[in-house]
């Protein structure tokens, strides 16, 4: 019990995320009789496959103190490329091609952000439009479709009653990225440039390497998400998938990242995504239209932001009043000393 208490005080964000996830899950498990079943578990994991990737990508970006707005366009481009070329080259080749393109795009973005020293949002809002154009070009302004539907069937095969090949792949991805972030130097560098960029740069960390790694991983995750969506549904649209950004951001923020960077982690991303998925799936049982889900996600994001900003403002005010009190105390001590010095001489 003591160790638990210690852990909670050490990781307040993560424990809040777990609490939120558990309470959302319990709420729907009690109100919806069908929610707590194997099939729903499978459906949740299927959603996790895509949203988890986007949540992971955005979590890494926000840890590095940046945000990648082009994630939806990147995913759409990967989906279009995979679906369009599967018939000609086979699924594996098309998939690898799409992933290579997405990762390269991400790495190039990271390079330019580090080289030009601009904020990522400035560049990625441009590439959001550019990649959309490329995707439209690649799809020839049409909805591209698969002709061979054995691949979608394979991707959604049930394994171990909860998982499919896609979600197992994504879980493996989570584990690899988690180990990378925690135990390698490159991962720690990403935390460093997010939490205290000036100090990190002053201590000799290059800005380019972590930036390129972060955005390459982000591009890879977006691409993989797009590939999974494309192959699972058998169709792809160049202008689709823009909703991923909002859902991924909500997942990342529930998972405990701070917009200032340097905080949060892969476990948080997983829990945040699961919370969003519980909410999504539970609302589907309630026959909620899709736009209401968007409304709830928007409110959730605003509330989380409000808490974060509020606590930051509160802390700042606390610190300032602490500082003022300190100054007052020192001044009174000083004046007492001066008075004590004067008395014998006077």
């Amino acid at each position: 019990m003591d160790r638990l208490k210690h852990w909670v005080t050490e990781n307040p964000d993560l424990s809040f995320a777990i609490l939120l996830a558990v309470s959302v899950f319990t709420f729907f498990a009690i109100t919806e009789p069908l929610f707590f079943t194997h099939r729903t578990g499978f459906a949740i994991m299927e959603r996790f496959a895509v949203l988890g990737l986007v949540g992971l990508a955005l979590t890494l970006c926000i840890i590095a103190g940046e945000i990648d707005l082009s994630i939806g366009s990147n995913a759409a481009l990967a989906a279009v490329i995979t679906v369009r070329f599967t018939d000609d080259w086979g699924a594996i080749n098309a998939l690898l091609m799409a992933l290579a393109i997405s990762t390269t795009i991400g790495a190039i973005q990271g390079y330019f952000i580090a080289y030009l020293r601009i904020r990522a949002i400035v560049l990625t809002v441009g590439t959001l439009m550019l990649l959309r154009g490329v995707a439209l070009f690649a799809a020839e302004e049409k909805t591209v479709m698969l002709t061979d539907f054995r691949i979608p069937d394979f991707i959604s095969t049930k394994m171990l009653s909860y998982f499919s090949p896609a979600s197992l792949l994504v879980i493996a991805m989570f584990v690899v990225v988690g180990l990378f972030m925690t135990f390698t130097r490159y991962g720690r560098e990403i935390y460093a440039i997010g939490g205290a960029r000036k100090e990190a740069l002053a201590s000799g960390i290059s800005l380019q390497r972590p930036m390129i790694i972060v955005f390459a991983i982000s591009g890879f995750c977006a691409g993989l998400g797009g590939v999974i969506i494309g192959l699972r549904s058998g169709t792809a649209q160049a202008l689709g998938l823009q909703y991923l950004l909002l859902a991924g951001t909500v997942a990342a923020f529930i998972g405990g990242v701070s917009i200032l960077g340097g905080k949060g982690g892969v476990i948080g991303a997983a829990i945040g995504t699961l919370t969003v998925n519980f909410l999504n799936t539970g609302l589907v049982f309630n026959v909620t239209p899709a736009f209401m889900v968007q409304l709830y996600l928007g409110i959730l994001l605003l509330v989380v932001i409000m808490f974060q900003t509020g606590s930051r403002v509160f802390e700042e005010r606390q610190r300032r009043s602490q500082l003022l009190a300190d100054v007052d105390r020192r001044r009174s001590i000083l004046s007492e000393k001066i008075a004590a010095l004067r008395r014998p001489s006077g």
Binding site: R117, G126, M129, V250, Q294, L302
Partner: protein, 357 residues
Amino acid sequence: MTDATLNTGDHLNLIQRIRRDYSPLVIGMVGLFLIVFVAGAVFTDDFLTWFNVKTIIRDAALVGIMAIGLTFVTLSGNFFLLSMKEIAALSIICFATLMSADWNQWGAADADPTTWTLGMTFLVAFVATMIIATVAGALQGALIGLGGNPIVVTLGAAGLFFGIGSWWSDNLVVSYRRPHGAEWLGTGSFIGDIPNITVAFIIIAIVAELTLRYTTFGRQVYLVGANRAAGRATGHENFGMAIKCCIIASVCAAFVAVAFSGQVSSAHVNYFSSEFGSSGDMTIMVIAIVMVGGNSIMGGYGSTLRTSLGAIFISSIDNMMVLNGFNSGARVLAVGLMIVFSIIVFALVRRGSRAVE
């Protein structure tokens, strides 16, 4: 103060002054854009006709007005609002719902409406829409001003507004019958054959430029955007500034929504999503205009005049490509390339000239 300090640079001619004020990269980029533009204008048939010029400016008007509003936010150093099209969607639903409300109609269905009743119907709906937009803007502005990241706040607000709009209209098309009180704004024209929306665009552009240049508020926007610490030290907190600028941006978006609703006498939340116009969705288009116009996205540098010119430039490139038979993919690609190119050029210039954070 002597005459010498006051008149520094007066002896330079125009070309020398441009070379002093702008870096060669920027001059090169603007030159390149101009060459492409002129070449396109010369080699495209029917491009330089009065009818086509009118079409270009009318196309630029709707996105241009929104972009002028967004310029205030960008200049004050709060990046941009990702919720522009959602504010417009909420406003258009509000406007159309009130225009078609029973108590707001001009009497029996076969009665001839008088100008007064039409005007009152329009006025009620217009004022309510503006109030909603003001509240929406103030909400975002307050969260941004408290220190929330503008991108994340407006991303959440976008979901919220879009959800409210869809919920209000049940995700259906809200339509109202002609004649209605918004026709003059949507399709009418008072001055010759120039549409009123074009006139509104020009008036808003001039008013915004004069506000930024010659009023105290305008100078404060530049101060807060250029140097937030200096702004705070002189008593101009970003809190109030963010609220004011977000309200301006939302009101501009709501105005565009009203004008667009007047054109088609109906409303739907998806009017401003990807189907609108030709290139991508409206929010990104508006941000593209602000960036291609050459406003510094970090704030403090730029003007609404640049934004208006950017709107006309993008609109004319788009028009040129349509006349030459390009598909939407190529047009979105062209606009995207222009944004990325201008971002990189401006970042290179900033990197060379000023100490970076």
